[in-house]
Amino acid sequence: MDNLRELYQEVILDHNKNPRNFRKMETPDGFAHGNNPLCGDQIDVYLRITDGMVEDISFDGNGCAICTSSASMMTQALKGMSEADAKALFTSFHHALTDKEEHPEDVPLGKLKVLTGVKDYPVRVKCATLAWHTFDAALKKLQGNISTE
């Protein structure tokens, strides 16, 4: 079990126990519901966007330690970021978890790097990316709404 320390690092266990920005947002600009039908993980992501910046982001729901901590760290990383930077971070994070090849254009992951241990547990990759896909869906819905107005 000790070999799992790489996967379940202290910081991950901490975010799991005390998830940051773990709350429902009453009137979000963007919202999406993420669901992993295979395991039943459910995540809601709420967004407030001002002038193309993620002014506030929060989540709630129910998931495993990898899912919860990834969502928690995502909200910390994205708060205050421009939409374009957020998208670039999502792409880079996704590459780091799923892709063997190097992507020179990828941006540094910073604190999110602790989650890249998931790469060695392919069935758990979806746990780590669920919140990000949900964020992406919320953003796309928001942009969709804007473009139709």
Binding site: M1, L4, N16, G40, D41, Q42, C64, A65, T68, R124
Partner: protein
């Protein structure tokens, strides 16, 4: 500790080559038998021998190999008949599995008969495969799906069952042993009550046949479905037992080869049972493997297996109950060998990964029974499910691994 001393678990384990596997350097403790059991060498060899010596298509050729394959295929049907004590061999239909068997009954029995105002009665503890086929029939016919509730312990509310069973009910479909809770349902009582008002009953036996002896005539079930891979046989093969009279009244489920007597563009004459429901070249090796699995189980004896697994269940229940922060989901008086549980501090998926690192394979998730998860307000559970080859010391490994997991997360 071991109250079934005469039970030779060591020699049984020797028949299952995969049990020698090491996972992360630790001996495999395989407790995911509810999802799929492992296969003994007798099953592996039956399939291998077929392919190496006897294989050809069945019910087709006049040549030796076709005849030999046909004989082996037919022998398996005879084995299944004996195993569940069907009245005759042609009441045994080979399917892809339990899901396929239930869909067959849904589309071939229920769909042509049901109309608006009719009801199908199931229970809250069904696997998705005994929910969705009926929802599809309801959409197709306008019939309505009714659900018998379950108690906090995980037992059917038989009073509500009696109330929900009415002249509107056209079919009752109930799981014999719950895959998510382990509950053994009073299916005989359900069959008798349903028959008293002329309602046929399908029993989903996917989790039952490898754990408790089943006699379809004594049970008087109209349909009984199970899968090969949950009873030490191959995947992709299963059985639908149906009473001859009902099966004869039903139209074919699928059209194709083997299910016809004669075909012209004007009219096709369907074949007799069981072939009417076995369109196309069947899963020959799967059926032969299933026959070998049933012979293997019968050689050891289901009564003996059930006693051993009950011992494991009792021991595991007491070991797990000792663990702080562990809650068992499903505490019916009558349970087969599985324990669903949750931990206060650790999500089931994390339990699954942590235990895997200790060599323990168990299932984490909703077990294709989301209504059950909703009922107990849990997103998922971890489930340890036992088979004939599990040992008491493996339960000790499980319990120790759970304690270690809690330690790491606290």
């Amino acid at each position: 500790m071991n109250n079934t001393a005469q039970y030779d678990v060591v020699s049984i384990r020797n028949d299952f080559p995969i049990l020698d596997r090491k996972i992360f350097g630790k001996p495999l403790v395989y407790l995911d038998n509810g999802a799929s059991t492992q296969r003994p060498v007798q099953v592996i060899n039956a399939v291998k021998d077929l392919y190496e010596h006897n294989y050809s298509n069945v019910h087709r050729g006049v040549h030796t190999l076709s005849q030999e394959s046909t004989n082996l295929y037919d022998d398996a049907r005879v084995a299944v008949r004996g195993f569940i004590n069907a009245a005759c061999v042609h009441e045994v239909i080979f399917t892809k599995g339990t899901t396929d068997a239930i869909n067959l009954v849904a589309q071939s029995y229920a769909r042509p008969r049901l109309k608006k105002g009719d009801e199908i009665l199931i229970t809250h503890m069904e696997h998705h495969s005994n929910i969705v086929p009926w929802q599809m029939v309801c959409e197709q016919t306008g019939a309505e799906l009714k659900v018998v509730p379950i108690s906090d312990k995980g037992e059917l509310d038989m009073d509500r069952f009696a109330e929900l069973l009415s002249e509107k009910t056209k079919l009752v479909s109930v799981v014999h042993v719950s895959n998510a809770l382990g509950t053994v349902n009073p299916v005989k009582e359900i069959v008798d009550a349903s028959h008293a008002i002329g309602v046929p009953v399908l029993v989903d036996g996917a989790q039952a046949v490898s754990h408790i002896p089943v006699d379809v005539q004594k049970l008087d079930a109209d349909f009984y479905a199970f899968s090969g891979h949950k009873i030490y046989g191959p995947t992709g093969v299963g059985v639908l037992y149906g009473k001859e009279k009902l099966l004869n009244e039903m139209p074919p489920y699928q059209g194709g080869g083997d299910m016809i007597l004669s075909v012209s563009f004007e009219k096709t004459e369907y074949n007799a049972l069981p072939y009417k429901f076995e369109a196309g070249t069947p899963n020959i090796a799967g059926v032969v493997g299933l026959g070998a699995a049933i012979n293997y189980v019968q050689k050891i004896g289901l009564g003996t297996i059930a006693a051993h697994e009950h011992g494991l269940l009792v021991y595991a229940t007491s070991k797990l109950q000792e663990i702080d922060g562990l809650r068992i989901i499903g505490e019916a008086d009558q349970k087969a060998g599985l324990i669903s549980f949750v931990l206060d501090a650790v999500h089931p998926h994390d339990i699954g990964t942590m235990l895997d690192a200790e060599g323990v394979a168990l299932r984490a998730g909703h077990h294709c029974a989301q209504p059950v998860m909703d009922r107990y307000k849990v997103p998922a559970t971890a489930r340890a499910s036992f088979a004939m080859y599990n040992t008491f010391s493996e339960i000790d490994v499980l319990a120790a691994a759970i304690v270690k997991t809690i330690g790491m997360f606290s």
